[in-house]
């Protein structure tokens, strides 16, 4: 099979779009010091809600909104039990992962394998005719454009705005924020809810655009874990996190292409392979970075990043 570089690029950007939204959402949440471990379930719940609402109402916009609302609702539960009641964020997040997954399958049964609306590509006039970049960047569906915009927007928000600064400050040292008259738990709640909304949107990005429809499996299982790993190994920096998402998109696309080269290997292997490869690439980079006494090479320095100092710790107000 001959694949033009333009198709490859278009495939990568499209595949990575929902993953990007989810991992950028999680980046925002974690920057405020909260771990939302529930991503894998929230994405599924978002996908189901988005598809169900869009199919019932006939409105794609309603579908996306509903998905975002579902993501926010899950985040609100985490915020209540984690941030406000002081339970381990990991425990709550993990429970929510499984609960949301099963809730999605359970509530989605009536919509399984039903036809539904689907977001088609909306080419940008003129620009989509550009060679190479045209199809990749300007002949995509709305979530893909949204994902493009989300990278600089998240970066700008985190590093260039006042709320972004407060967000980072809370993630670093909530006690110091409290001393300066900021309410850390409110900031953390806001960040958790906003991040959750993006994760929910990512779900709809699958069920309404990238892998249209609902079923069990939907095809986006496992993506949440990848998104979580991306945030950590991308060093909590939106641009590096985005690079990771594109790397994963590339892995997914290229394994499809590689199938033709290795006809002896079963297809299923190619579907699963990107997950371990991705996580282990990230882990190796990370372990190399953290290993004691090893000099940091240029490549490793690129991926350097430290977690927000208060990440995962419940802040208890005096």
């Amino acid at each position: 099979m001959d694949v033009s570089p333009a198709d490859l690029l278009a495939g990568v950007t499209a595949t990575a779009a929902p993953l990007l939204l989810a991992s950028l959402g999680e980046t925002v949440t974690e920057k405020a010091g909260v771990i939302n471990l529930s991503l894998d379930g929230t994405i599924l719940l978002g996908a189901m809600t988005g598809f169900a609402v869009a199919a019932t109402s006939g409105s794609l916009a309603a579908g996306f909104l509903a998905a975002a609302a579902a993501g926010t609702a899950v985040a609100a539960v985490l915020s209540l039990i984690g941030t406000w009641l002081g339970q381990s964020q990991v425990a709550v997040g993990f429970t929510l992962t499984l609960l949301c997954r099963d809730l999605a399958y359970f509530l989605g049964t009536p919509h399984a394998r039903q036809p539904g609306p689907q977001l088609l590509a909306s080419p940008v006039p003129l620009l989509s005719d550009l060679p190479l970049l045209g199809p990749a960047l300007f002949n995509q569906s709305l979530p893909v454009y949204l994902s493009f915009a989300a990278i600089p927007a998240t970066w700008y928000f985190i590093y260039r705005t006042r709320p972004g600064l407060i967000l980072r400050a809370v993630g670093e040292n909530p006690a110091a924020c409290w001393a300066r008259g900021i309410r850390p738990r409110l900031v953390q709640t806001a960040a958790t809810l906003a991040g959750g909304a993006l994760v929910g949107l990512a779900g709809a990005g699958y069920s309404l655009a990238l892998k249209p429809g609902w079923g069990r499996p939907q095809g986006c299982e496992g993506i949440g874990w990848i998104a979580l790993a991306l945030v950590i190994f991308g060093g909590w920096h939106p641009v590096r996190v985005a690079l990771g998402a594109y790397l994963f998109g590339f892995l997914q696309i290229s394994t499809i292409l590689l199938q033709d080269l290795f006809p002896s290997l079963p297809t299923q292997v190619f579907q699963v392979a990107p997950f371990p490869i991705m996580i282990f690439t990230l882990i190796l980079i990370h372990a190399g970075r953290n290993a004691r006494g090893r000099k940091q090479r240029l490549l490793l320095r690129l991926f350097r990043g430290r977690p927000p100092a208060a990440l995962g710790r419940t802040y208890r107000q005096a």
Binding site: R160, T161, R162, L165, I166, R168, A169, E172, N173, A175, A176, C177, W178, A179, R180, G181, I182, R183, R306, A309, A318
Partner: protein, 499 residues
């Protein structure tokens, strides 16, 4: 609403603060004037921090009245204090180490205009003779520079009352002079400055007025010129005479030897410490909290590695790895944070004894019960073998820790060992320690209580900013020399006429 210099900026009346049964502040009244530097001095635990936390809204008073610029105010949260213009420079910088200088300056600043704020930061920095790079990460700054940044931020916030908690700990002489110049400039512009300090030298050079706190009460109040001897006496109580309960004994072979040890740990680190402690010595470590005693004890206990220098211990030669196995546990360390660092919350007295002793692999609920009951009886612990460590009172936690010291211990390291103990328990503890130490052991303990050190130790070391400023046998020094050393003056300084 402007408060003229000389008028009261803050008025405190009968401030009480209780933590459970403990009364940290027992009716403190004082007035802080605008355009003055007001020193607040006192021993560790005198109530200074509690009072400052009340002024910054971190904790609420139990009773009493606070007036700000003549108006009665209620400080419930730091937000309230911030609105009034009360700002504090904490002992441990309360900032954001990983963010840049400019970001730190901008958090909670009015407006978000990086260009303008950068300009203002540079101007302010210039005006006070600081040199701060707005783009540097705060974690790369020295403690002194972090203070300067925080100070500029508070000035930029138009703080009218500035509280500084031990601001000169861990900063260089040069930085101290820059800081003091800045504080004087602020005073002259009508701000009220509260300086919480241990160090009489800086109090003398900077403060217009000094209040001494002791056990939660105001015990002295002086204006310049200060009578230092009376201040010292107010701070540390009456100078006790010959209450020594320990006789200097013949010292034996060296048991701990440190040679040119440096460490960057803790607030002050440890600078060029070379000491040798021999068998039969009881060494008391004195000094303001965080002057290096804690680091010293942890390095001696093998829990912390020095950055450079050598540490030799009797049982394992070099202290660069934790003790292995139980037989060589000849060095024991009892931390001040008993429940956090020394005991395991949730484990019972019996289980602690089992962990420390030679327990068999299989443990019945009765294993070690008799032993535990015996220990409880001999150590006067109020509890039963099944009482968890977190269910014991502070004093009983200390008894439990003590009972875990193996018979073979040769070097016993203790941090604030009598904190929370009454007089009788303390005296029991010392008897116990002497029995454990035997003829070939040594004890090193840190204590905020000078009387205890003078009474219990054969030798005293005074720490100041990570250095040992005074090292003498307790029977050949006196409380006055020691208190001077704690406040940063060597015996040689004392002979010089006061500047």
């Amino acid at each position: 609403m402007e408060t003229l210099p000389g008028n009261d900026m803050i008025g405190l009346e009968e401030i009480h603060k209780r933590f459970g049964r403990v009364e940290a502040l027992a009716g403190v009244s004082m007035r802080i004037r605008a355009g003055s530097v007001h020193g607040i001095v006192g021993e560790n635990g005198a109530g200074k921090s509690t009072l400052m936390k009340i002024l910054t809204g971190f904790i609420s008073r139990t009773s009493g009245t606070i007036r700000f610029a003549g108006r009665e105010v209620d400080l419930r949260t730091p937000r309230d204090a911030d609105r009034l213009g009360i700002g504090m420079l904490y002992q441990e910088p309360l900032d954001f180490p990983r963010l840049s200088v400019l970001d730190n300056f901008m958090v909670a600043a009015a407006g978000h205009d990086p260009g303008r704020l950068r300009q203002q930061l540079l101007e302010l920095s210039d005006r006070f003779g600081f040199s701060l790079d707005p783009d540097s990460a705060v974690e790369r700054l020295t403690v002194g520079e972090r203070q300067q940044l925080e100070l500029l931020r508070l000035i930029h916030r138009r703080c009218r009352v500035l509280i500084l908690d031990e601001p000169t700990t861990g900063i260089s002489q040069e930085q101290q002079e820059i800081l003091f110049a800045a504080l004087r400039a602020l005073r002259d512009r009508g701000r009220a400055i509260i300086l919480v300090s241990h160090k009489l030298a800086e109090v003398r050079s900077l403060c217009d007025r000094v209040t001494v706190l002791r056990q939660g009460r105001v015990v002295a109040d002086q204006e310049q010129p200060l009578d230092e001897d009376r201040l010292l006496q107010a701070m540390f109580g009456s100078l006790p005479g010959g209450q020594r309960t320990v006789a200097s004994r013949e010292t034996g072979r060296p048991i701990l030897a440190m040679d040119r040890v440096f460490s960057g740990a803790g607030r002050s680190g440890l600078h060029d410490v070379s000491v040798s402690v021999a068998e039969n010595e009881v060494v008391g470590l004195a000094g303001l909290d965080g002057s290096g005693q804690a680091v010293f004890l942890r390095i001696a206990g093998g829990l912390l590695q020095p950055d450079s220098g050598s540490v030799r211990l009797p049982d394992r030669g070099r202290a660069d790895r934790p003790a292995k196995g139980r037989d060589c546990r000849q060095t024991v360390f009892l931390p001040a944070d008993r429940l956090g660092e020394g005991l395991v919350p949730g484990l019972s007295i019996r289980e602690h004894l089992l962990l420390a002793g030679d327990a068999p692999f299989f443990l019945a609920p009765t294993t070690g019960r008799t032993q535990a009951e015996k220990t409880i009886a001999t150590c006067n612990i109020i509890g039963s073998p099944s009482t968890p460590a977190d269910g014991l009172s502070g004093g009983n936690q200390q008894r439990l820790l003590l009972s875990l010291i193996p018979d073979r211990a040769r070097l016993i390291l203790l941090e604030n060992p009598t904190r929370g103990l009454d007089v009788r328990s303390a005296s029991w503890m010392w008897q116990f320690l002497h029995r454990r130490m035997g003829d070939d052991g040594a004890i090193i303990f840190a204590s905020p209580d000078l009387e205890e050190i003078m009474a219990r130790a054969t030798r005293i070391m005074v720490f100041f900013n990570g250095r040992i400023l005074l090292d003498a046998p307790t029977d050949r020094t006196d409380l006055q020399t020691v208190s001077r050393a704690i406040t940063g003056r060597t015996p040689e300084d004392a002979r010089l006429p006061a500047a």
